[in-house]
Chain length 272, copies 2
Amino acid sequence: MARKPEHKQSSADKALKVLDLFTEDFPAWTVEMLMKELDATRATTYRYVKVLYDAGLLATGAGSSYVLGPRIIQLDRQIQRSDPLLQIALPMLEEEKSPLIGSKSISSLYGDQVLSVYVEKCDPDIFLTMQRGRVFPLVYGAPSRIILAHLPPYQMKNFYIANAEDIACAHLGETWEDFRTSMQRLRKQGYCIGSEINPTVVGISAPIFHDKSAVSASLSYVRRLEITSDAQKAELAELVVAAADRISKQLLSYRPERGTRGPVFTTPRMSV
Amino acid sequence: MARKPEHKQSSADKALKVLDLFTEDFPAWTVEMLMKELDATRATTYRYVKVLYDAGLLATGAGSSYVLGPRIIQLDRQIQRSDPLLQIALPMLEEEKSPLIGSKSISSLYGDQVLSVYVEKCDPDIFLTMQRGRVFPLVYGAPSRIILAHLPPYQMKNFYIANAEDIACAHLGETWEDFRTSMQRLRKQGYCIGSEINPTVVGISAPIFHDKSAVSASLSYVRRLEITSDAQKAELAELVVAAADRISKQLLSYRPERGTRGPVFTTPRMSV
DNA sequence: GGTGTCGATCTCAATAAGTGAGATTCCCGA
DNA sequence: TCGGGAATCTCACTTATTGAGATCGACACC
């Protein structure tokens, strides 16, 4: 995870830090601007840029600026094509045609974050904020929380110790016992329902396992809040739990084809 | 460009080289495998992996392997949201509803390659091989060739010198004069038609300019070959040229909103 | 909840890099 | 062909990287 501050400053670290500067609000940087931001000389800045440019992670933009490069788009395609979760889940989701479902999405656990990896818009009138690539903390939103609830005990304990404050803020428990109990309740329920991320919709998420007792992702069905009755919520919950179970079953028996050297699941560590 | 072999071996270079190993056929690597492949010691291999892991470019996979990381998916979303070409073109393409169009796609020029950056399936029965992230050489396929034909003179000349052989193989000209003439013909026609990439469809591509006389991308309309008459080809050509022109016009008058510090077009260099 | 097994990190001396300032080359538009 | 500016090169100097082994710690099993 690139969250925590680093102690040592290797040169590769410093070069890759340049990537962090390319945010949505500042998608283009000139070398002059980078020099000021990095507090480095012209030569050094060009060296960092060259490394990333040669790797295809940066590309030249208009006005002698640099922007994120083509390699990223290319690698994203590679991930999509080699991710067994998507390989299995997408065909299964295509068969799910209930008119109750306004949108389907899949979120994956990476480290201590949850990343949206697939979003499908079914209801043309629904307003979606979810997109592939959006990142959420483990405590925020139904897709995250149902994953959080199914973490193995030691990971959940570690997570609590490191994030007790955020957990309390999110009303998931004031103490470890509180937290454990509320997570237990979620597990028993089998799904998590909420409108936290997007207040115009209701989302219901169920866990996906790539190994017995190892959660890796969650499936969410979403529907416009204004047109959703309580009975429909219950029906959607049943649907999403059943679909997530089917995906998990397939995933458990998944064996890679083609010349791959092994499974391609992500099994995050929850290190401090 | 990440094509040509490098002379110097900086440590960041070596770390980023690890990314190259993660191909579609080998999406997961253990450290042991990487050690053999890189011919490095265990400590060094772990150091490279750690740098990429901390940057989010790698993630841990099942069986103590590593796979491409969440940061890539995240950065891809950032590119999509900050690319003025997509910002402008997508709403315009949504209004184009001709039933002749089986698929729409946009390809962008990056260096000496052309990258598919957007693909939309309109005809549910069409079989598409094109996806966001697919890369093509500048001489292969209609989307590439119409870009090639509109390169500025010195870039075209440079490209010819460096790729005379490939150009001859692609029947684009045996000599510089030949090549120049065939490119001139394409420019005059205004579009390029072909079935090279996917033999089951016919694709027609028109150039998109982000600056007068600076090509940056191409728009392609695609239709199943078996159901396409010559008259329909002509009509599709008109449509795609008109749409690409509209996009170019918008692009020329584009001024970034939000706190962006400048335009975010890619203006590739064609260096040797 | 305790304990064992690897995967991952740390330590330290030797080695081979990265760094900065300025000159230079090369790209690209007229 | 030429000019302006971006990108690279040179070289002395400094600092990080490397490799082998010891150690740490996360995770699985009991």
